[in-house]
């Protein structure tokens, strides 16, 4: 009973409220236009989304490539530095080996040279004798041929000083005494 009363009330209230405003006659055409607009909008959105995705992918690819290149560059720089260090180390090693070889060769030469000498002391003595002879020879030339008495005396004295035990020192002493005698005789002659 109550339900019927409620139903009646609602229906009467609905009737008194009036119906909806009449809808335009070309509703179907309006709906089609809206559907077309929506389809176009959807298409535009999809194309735009695809463009954005493509752009993002391109950007990502570009950035990734750039990063990869930079990483490669850094890796190459590190490799070059390592190669430089290795090369320097190798060069130093080669230099040391060459130096060592040179030293060894020189040592061998010296050893060979030393081995060629029958008696080293005798060889030294020969060389000393030879030097003393040369000095005496030069002093003789200065005294007898070039008339450079003072220089000759100095040279004889040096032979006596440097090689006192040699026979050339003895000859230098004799020549010096000869020079002194000559000087003495000449001074007497001058007095007479």
């Amino acid at each position: 009973m109550t339900e019927d009363k409620i139903k009646n009330l609602i229906q009467k209230a609905d009737r008194t409220a009036g119906g909806p405003v009449p809808i335009s006659a070309n509703l179907a055409a309006a709906v089609r236009r809206r559907a077309n607009r929506r389809n176009i909008a959807n298409l535009v959105v999809r194309v735009a989304a695809a463009a954005v995705v493509l752009f993002a992918l391109g950007l990502w690819n570009y950035t990734a490539k750039k990063t990869r290149d930079q990483q490669k560059l850094v890796a190459l720089e590190i490799q070059i530095k390592q190669l430089q260090i290795q090369t320097d180390a190798t060069l130093n090693f080669i230099r040391e080996v060459l130096d060592e070889e040179r030293r060894q060769r020189r040592l061998n030469e010296l050893q060979t040279q030393l081995a060629s000498y029958s008696d080293p002391l005798e060889e030294i003595q020969k060389q000393v004798d030879k030097t003393a002879f040369i000095l005496v020879y030069q002093a003789n030339r200065m005294y007898r041929e070039l008339d450079q008495k003072d220089s000759a005396i100095q040279a004889y004295n040096r032979v006596i000083e440097l090689f006192p035990q040699s026979r050339w020192a003895e000859e230098a002493r004799q020549t010096l005494s000869e020079i002194k005698n000559n000087q003495h005789n000449n001074s007497k002659g001058d007095l007479i």
């Binding site: 609905d14 909806p20 509703l27 179907a28 309006a30």
Partner: protein, 184 residues
């Protein structure tokens, strides 16, 4: 059954690209959709936007319609969903821009002006129906104003018949309380 056959025929023609089929659907159902939308939204009178929204959704989805229910039920389901969305958007909009406007939205301006001319009693009844929560208002409108069967209403609202009965019962109880002086 004949109506269902007509529906199938129309949907078949539309699927084959016959645009006059849609014209016939609009011609046949737009008035019913407008009346339902008007009632669900609280008798604002101006419901062409909602009707267009409903028909647009139907136009875009008609090829997927399988004729498992009548075309009218399907269109009413869309109408109910569109009205819910519309009210929700309107509520958000008003809540966002003006709290005062929310109060005004309870009764549209159309009704306010008309209320003076309307009988005071029916104005109260409409207010009471509008004040019902959505889940009670929809069954009330479909049952007492659209006079659909319980099976059809349950299918349109996507609920069981028992749930529908419960909602109707609770809606009546609320209306009985709100309209006690009128019912007696």
């Amino acid at each position: 059954m004949a109506k269902n056959l007509d529906d199938e025929l129309l949907v078949g023609q539309f699927s084959r690209g016959d645009e006059t089929a849609f014209d016939r659907i609009v011609e046949g159902y737009s008035a019913d959709i407008a009346v339902l939308a008007n009632r669900l939204l609280g008798w604002p009178g101006e419901v062409e936007d909602i009707v267009q929204e409903v028909l647009l959704a139907a136009f875009l989805g008609l090829k997927k319609f399988r004729c498992e229910c009548s075309l009218k039920s399907w269109l009413f389901t869309i109408t109910i969903n569109k009205c819910r969305s519309y009210r929700y958007k309107q509520m958000l909009y008003l809540r966002f821009f003006s709290r005062a406007a929310v109060r005004a939205s309870v009764l549209p301006a159309h009704d306010e002006g008309k209320a003076q001319m309307d009988d005071e009693t029916f104005h109260k009844v409409r207010l009471a129906v509008q004040a019902l929560p959505l889940k009670y208002r929809e069954p009330v409108v479909l049952r007492y104003l659209q006079e659909l069967s319980t099976d059809e209403i349950a299918r349109i609202l996507g609920i069981s018949k028992n749930a529908l009965q419960v909602r109707l019962s609770r809606a009546r109880e609320r209306l009985r309380q709100d309209l006690a002086e009128l019912i007696g």
